[in-house]
Point group: C2
Chain length 254, copies 2
DNA sequence: GCAATAGTGTCTATTAGACAGTATCGC
DNA sequence: GCGATACTGTCTAATAGACACTATTGC
């Protein structure tokens, strides 16, 4: 067969799946939706859907994100987009048997978002929720915050979620992306709690403060202060222009 | 439309494209093939082809690699594969207009290989060659080593190649992947020349030697020595078991 | 000897990590 | 006052980078 014979290619469906991460109550959480149909009916899955015929992959991911959360994604590769959550391509999953019905290639995307109000999913408020990554990835399922048992995720979504979490854990080391988990204005302590939740470690508040305020372009003071965390008023910052951190934040050893 | 109605998805073609990098004569080079048909007939392009209906994405990439180079890819994610070149998924490109004939989503893969004999491409030795990354990515095309002008790469392959080069440049900082550019046994000086070619910088041989031999698990002595680089005989090493380098190699500032 | 590469030692400026101590809020 | 968090300063061990020096080959 000719390498580009348009009439001779096998038919594929192409979807986007979203790993939407946020930090809630000092825990790294992901957005999951309940499947209403077979296969895996009733199980939790990552949000996602088909790429339309005239739609770019990043556009499809941003559309699905808006449909599920109302978030406006900020794709660093596309020039003009309203500020909001960070969106980037994660990886593509194409095992021939990953969907029992047909050949589906899924282009997974990673979204990092600040703590949000309750998710919505097409008007059915009960069909989407935040769950801790720990619960979703524990082998037997574990228990959600309402005491509801989390069965394993549908399809290969546990692997996709694991890859997304690993990407987030490593990217906040050498980029300023941890600020994507924070509201527009935030304190050094709030940023530290993001690192602690994503990495699952405790960091020295004093050395952390010295490190982030000493990294050029990471944070810019916004002028105000807040006492929303209690204690002495803390200076408020915005994300600076730097995207790459040099020197990087160092993740403590195991 | 139901989010998973099997009869209602738009038809996509899915291909794999390969960014095959090697170091030749102190320069980072990529494998390109000449297109025999429209569009972009006669232009250079990255090797690649359709994913078969029952084939995983990584398997398709390994098959294309073997067809183009005879290399056996070593995918770190798959358990048993003959040692050879390193292969990993790079990114997926799905702009609706990236191929003028139809909707093609391409899952690009990155291959890092030691210096190889001349490439082959389906028996037609003239239709595949190594070109320096510098020539391929220079805006106007530049000149290849035979003095032949390199026109810009077909499709969006210049962008894919640029992304692959950037991935390679950053991955050799914090992983042991630079050894994938070396033969099974190599000297510290040969490894240093890999870093210098990929990063395009000059490194201090003495500090480099101290750094790589002091990083646990990076290199293991094989016992032999060689004088193939001239000068005092150099100890031969193999790649050690470590995949992540801690501390990382530091790329000098611009 | 001379050129080339390999390998070791030494000094210095920088920094990560540990931790003392002070500042400023709510209660 | 007390508890909490924010911030600044200090010490030490480790290290990146610069560079002097020696070792061992081919010619």
């Amino acid at each position: 067969m000719s390498p580009y014979d348009p009439s001779a290619f096998p038919p594929f469906a192409v979807t986007v799946d979203l790993v939407v991460l946020t930090v809630r109550r000092h825990a790294l959480c992901a957005l999951v939706v309940r499947r209403g149909e077979q296969p895996f009916q009733g199980r939790w899955a990552l949000p996602g859907g088909f790429v339309r015929g005239d739609e770019d992959l990043a556009a499809a991911a941003a559309r699905e994100l808006a449909e599920e959360t109302g978030l406006c994604a900020h794709d660093p590769d596309s020039p003009a987009s309203t500020p909001g959550a960070h969106l980037e391509q994660l990886a593509t999953y194409g095992d021939p048997r990953r969907d029992p019905r047909m050949r589906v290639v899924s282009v997974a995307h990673l979204v990092l978002a600040p703590d949000l109000p309750a998710p919505r999913a097409g008007g059915d408020a009960n069909s989407a929720r935040w769950a801790t990554v720990e619960d979703l990835l524990s082998q037997e399922g574990g228990f959600g915050r309402e005491g509801e048992q989390s069965t394993p995720l549908a399809f290969d979504h546990a692997r996709i979620l694991g890859d997304g979490v690993e990407r987030a854990r490593s990217k906040i080391e050498y980029s300023s992306l941890a600020t994507a988990f924070c509201p527009p204005e935030f304190t050094v302590g709030e940023l530290r709690r993001v690192y602690e939740a994503v990495w699952g470690v405790a960091l020295d508040p004093r050395n952390f403060h010295r490190k982030v305020t000493g990294t050029p372009g990471f944070l810019v003071p916004s002028g105000g202060t807040t006492t929303r965390q209690g204690g002495r008023p803390a200076q408020l910052f915005r994300a600076g222009g730097a995207t790459v951190l040099n020197p990087p934040m160092l993740r403590p050893e195991v």
